[in-house]
């Protein structure tokens, strides 16, 4: 992990936002959370669902970890954070299942995967445990959004190449009002299976990582 954030005086809004969305992006820079990433990004909708669920958990876990940061000693911090995060995810899972069942049917798969998302422990360890509650919440939000955007792009690329559609199933996740998002870009497309299967995920991710490096290098030269 390459986070080099000093404990800030006041919240460094711009810095945290830039870090989360681009320069220290969970996937593009930290290359964390690849297991859930590659598993669910067969469509843009799934990427969006996973991203939003992760963002919610990331914000709350960052706040909790930041609140208890002065009580927890460095020697036992990892097990404490793991217990906090796993409990949180389980509570969200149970609550959604009981009181927002339709949403749970769509997101249920993603929620279980969040427990194994090392990006959440990563942020707890490298940011929330060293910063105030406000900064930690913002970091959770921005890291989550950065994660969501990359997941959605990755899902979109794989979906277009793999099945010729974009945002299929969006109405199930976001409600009927968002069904205009569902596009068939290539009618009568026979599909390109590799893009949907995990190897296609690795290939697409490789191009995204290379693309980010290219842009960063251009920016450096200027």
């Amino acid at each position: 992990m390459t986070t080099a954030l000093k404990t800030p005086k006041g919240i460094q809004w711009g810095r945290i936002t830039r870090d989360g969305l681009w320069s220290n992006n969970v996937i593009l820079s930290q290359t964390l959370a690849l297991c859930p990433t590659l598993a669910v990004t067969g469509t843009a909708t799934n990427g969006l669902g996973m991203g939003l669920a992760t963002t919610a958990v990331l914000i709350v876990s960052n706040i909790l970890v930041s609140l208890i940061r002065n009580v927890v000693t460095p020697e036992v911090r990892i097990p404490v954070y793991i217990v906090v995060i796993a409990t949180l995810v389980t509570l969200v899972d149970l609550g959604l299942n009981a009181y927002a069942h339709e949403l749970h049917k769509v997101l249920g798969l993603f929620i279980a995967l969040i427990v194994v998302n090392c990006a959440i422990l990563g942020r707890a360890e490298s940011f929330a445990s060293k910063n105030g509650v406000g900064a930690a919440a913002l970091d959770g939000l921005m890291m989550g959004l950065g994660f969501t955007i990359v997941l959605m792009v990755l899902g979109g690329v794989r979906e277009i190449i793999g099945s010729g559609t974009l945002f299929s199933g969006a109405a199930l996740l976001l409600g009927q009002a968002m069904s205009f998002l569902e596009l068939t870009l290539i009618p009568d497309y026979r599909g390109f299976l590799l893009a949907i299967l995990p190897p296609g995920g690795f290939v697409a991710l490789g191009f995204l990582l290379a693309g980010k490096r290219l842009i960063d290098r251009r920016a450096m030269r200027k």
């Binding site: 067969g42 927890v72 000693t73 509570l91 299942n97 009981a98 949907i196």
Partner: protein, 212 residues
């Protein structure tokens, strides 16, 4: 306690053990409470889901009972218990529904199969599967109308030898690029029809004591 002893205490194994213990106890307490609070609503939601699936394979007009209340359990040919939901009109069994399972490409495919008392398929719907998205998932009614091809069929229509996908010389379409998935579903449904034929007398017998 002054500042130095406090920070010494914090360094000690006692504080760390205590910290871990308190954290885990709080987590466990929270989970127990949440589990107790949500158990009832979750069970209710699952019953609603089951009812919704059953309504797709047994038309509501065929019965006047609560399908979840009148179940019987029978063993299939392999000795696996099968829970059977019976649709009753008065005390006559008009239809039954039960779950069949096929071995798909990536794991079990659970299908709920509704049969009229005369053995005709009223409907079949996939409840859960792990097939490849974009290929095998066309067995879902949300992704394609393939599964509707079974409506109105029975064990004699088509004849048993043709209860297979076209690639195996049968009557039912496979998908381009996916044969294993539809083959598994066709086999599972055929198995379900055979199970019904074997146990027809028991399954359609009028239940003496209706309870709802």
């Amino acid at each position: 306690m002054n500042a130095t002893t406090w920070s010494e205490f914090r360094q000690g194994i006692g504080y760390q053990g205590l910290l871990l213990g308190v954290t885990v106890t709080m987590a466990a307490t929270l989970l127990v409470v949440a589990d107790r609070v949500t158990r009832e609503p979750i069970a209710q939601r699952h019953a609603e889901d089951m009812n919704a699936s059953l309504a797709q394979v047994i038309p509501p007009a065929l019965h006047d009972n609560d399908l979840l209340a009148n179940t019987v359990t029978l063993n299939d040919a392999n000795g696996t218990p099968v829970q059977i939901y019976r649709a009753l009109a008065g005390d006559r069994v008009t239809a039954v529904a039960f779950q069949v399972t096929g071995k798909g490409y990536a794991g079990d495919i659970d299908v709920i199969l509704g049969l009229a008392a005369d053995g005709k398929v009223l409907g079949a719907r996939v409840l859960a599967h792990k097939e490849t998205p974009g290929l095998g998932d066309k067995i879902e009614v949300a992704k394609g109308d393939w599964i509707l091809a079974f409506d109105g069929r029975s064990l004699g229509d088509p004849p048993p030898a043709r209860w297979a996908v076209k690639k195996d010389g049968g009557d039912f379409d496979q998908f381009s690029g996916a044969t294993i998935t539809p083959r598994a579903v066709v086999r599972a449904l055929k198995g379900g029809l055979e199970f019904f034929a074997t146990n027809r007398a028991v399954l359609t017998a009028s239940p003496g004591n209706r309870q709802n």
